[in-house]
């Protein structure tokens, strides 16, 4: 329930900020973009003001395994600058300048923007409905410009890779890359039905891949998770591919599984190459390593 309270607070504060900043006034937005006219600097102050607390928030988030409510934090940012990103941003910028409205203020304007605001919002929603078709047309016109595969295989070692959520259409590429076992570290409750363990398992096994379900609950990872992952690794006939929402949980499990085998620095540095921050579990890695050492004597 708490998450809905915070979603309401966030949406409400966003709305109040839009009103306070004057970004609900299309003249201010257009005035900022109008460098050849009567230029209005307000928007730059709004952007600067908004980026400051958010930069602090990202730093706080980087030190945590999950959110204050125990929910998954976003994965590392995608780095790929695709044609979709550039073309989409140009189209968006044109519309933004024409009316002086972007999605946030357009939604908020339902309460104060009269019929004009509502018409803009409806047109925007219609644009969102046709956007996938525009995306397909861009892909047909310039297949080379669009990403070949959404797949992002992040190999922590030659025999273990992690990844954000995949869908069944990614499995052939995983097989082609030489992986023989796929581990699903994401509980079904987080995701739509077509990505549930049963569906993914059937699709993977149809390709001859071994599929292991080892759901890790965000923020409540258990040593059973670690043991099951290690067992799947031990039984695998080749490299193992693990996925969750961002790949973070797969990395944490991997680090705990290898505590004592490799140094804590190494176990933290390797996932960090892909943006996964394991610093918050350093103590846990070290404790497990000490335990393994003690049991050897």
């Amino acid at each position: 329930m708490q998450r809905y309270g915070f979603a309401l607070l966030s949406g409400g504060l966003f709305g109040a900020g839009l009103l306070t900043s004057g970004m609900t006034d299309t003249r201010k937005v257009q005035g900022w973009l109008d460098v050849f006219g009567d230029w209005d600097p307000t928007l730059a102050f709004v952007m600067g003001g908004a980026i400051l607390p958010m930069a602090v928030a990202w730093r706080l988030a980087a030190q945590r395994r999950d959110s204050y409510l125990g929910l998954d934090l976003p994965g590392p940012p995608k780095r790929e600058v695709s044609a979709h990103l550039v073309i989409g941003s140009v189209i968006f910028g044109m519309g933004w300048a024409l009316a002086g409205l972007c999605p946030g203020p357009a939604i908020a304007s339902i309460s104060y923007g009269g019929v004009g605001g509502a018409v803009f919002l409806l047109a925007m929603l219609a644009g969102m409905v046709v956007a996938p078709r525009v995306r397909d047309r861009i892909d047909q016109a310039a297949p080379a410009a669009s990403p070949r595969s959404k797949m992002d295989i992040r190999a922590l070692t030659p025999t273990y890779a992690v990844s954000p959520q995949i869908d069944p259409s990614d499995l052939p590429a995983i097989k082609a890359a030489g992986y023989t076992t796929v581990i699903d570290n994401r509980p079904d409750g987080e995701i739509p039905a077509h990505l549930h363990t049963q569906q993914m398992k059937a699709a993977a096994e149809a390709l001859g891949l071994k599929f292991v379900a080892n759901p890790v609950i965000g923020g409540a990872l258990s040593m059973d998770n670690v043991r099951l992952q290690a067992q799947a690794m031990a039984e695998a006939s080749g490299p193992v591919f693990a996925y969750c929402a961002s790949g973070n949980r797969c990395s944490v499990v991997w680090a705990l599984m290898n505590a004592g085998e490799r140094s804590a620095d190494d176990l933290i540095r390797t996932p960090a190459k892909y943006g996964y921050n394991l610093e918050p579990i350093r103590a846990q890695i070290e404790a497990l390593a000490a335990e393994a050492e003690a049991s050897k004597d």
Binding site: Y4, F6, A7, L9, S10, G11, G12, L13, G17, L18, T20, S21, G22, D25, T26, R27, K28, L33, D34, G37, D40, P41, T42, F45, V46, M47, G49, A50, M54, V56, A57, W58, A61, L69, L73, P77, R79, V86, G88, I91, F92, G93, G95, A97, L98, A99, C102, P103, G104, I110, S111, Y112, G113, G114, G117, A123, M124, M128, V129, I138
Partner: protein
């Protein structure tokens, strides 16, 4: 008080809203994604969180304008411009997978390459559109 001071204070509130959404809900506050992934059904798994966020985004300005008077939007009266602009914003923000809040506020603040590239392109495109449509053609 100067407009830019209000702008800065309002900006802090917008950034604070994004910080709450990140640190508590674990989510990136991008207006186009929150509503757009309901439209294309890809975000139905957490539809309630999205709807509640949107309810706050609409209800709080409603209450504030009720208490302190209406906000003047100065939106153009040219219906054709409104509809075309709306469609462009809808298509573009979904193609780019983000808008001013997602790429601009949340992306730049974590120095995301995609966020920075998107922001540069939409601002330049917006500036050029403004120059052409206002100063050359005189439509807006």
């Amino acid at each position: 008080m100067h407009d830019w001071i209000w702008g800065f204070v309002g900006g802090l509130m917008i950034g604070g809203a994004a910080a709450v959404f990140l640190l508590f809900n674990g989510r990136i506050m991008g207006a186009s994604g929150i509503i757009g992934e309901l439209v294309d059904r890809s975000g139905l798994a957490n539809w309630a969180e999205r709807v509640v966020f949107l309810a706050g985004l609409i209800a709080v300005p409603y209450l504030l304008t009720l208490a302190f008077g209406g906000a003047e939007t100065h939106l153009t009266g040219n219906w054709l411009v409104i509809v075309i602009a709306g469609i462009l914003v809808g298509v573009g923000s979904r193609l780019a997978n983000g808008c001013t809040s997602g790429h601009g506020v949340c992306g730049i603040s974590r120095l995301s390459l995609r966020g920075i590239v998107a922001t540069v392109f939409y601002i330049v495109a917006g500036g050029v559109t403004m120059a052409v449509m206002r100063h050359l053609i005189g439509v807006i």
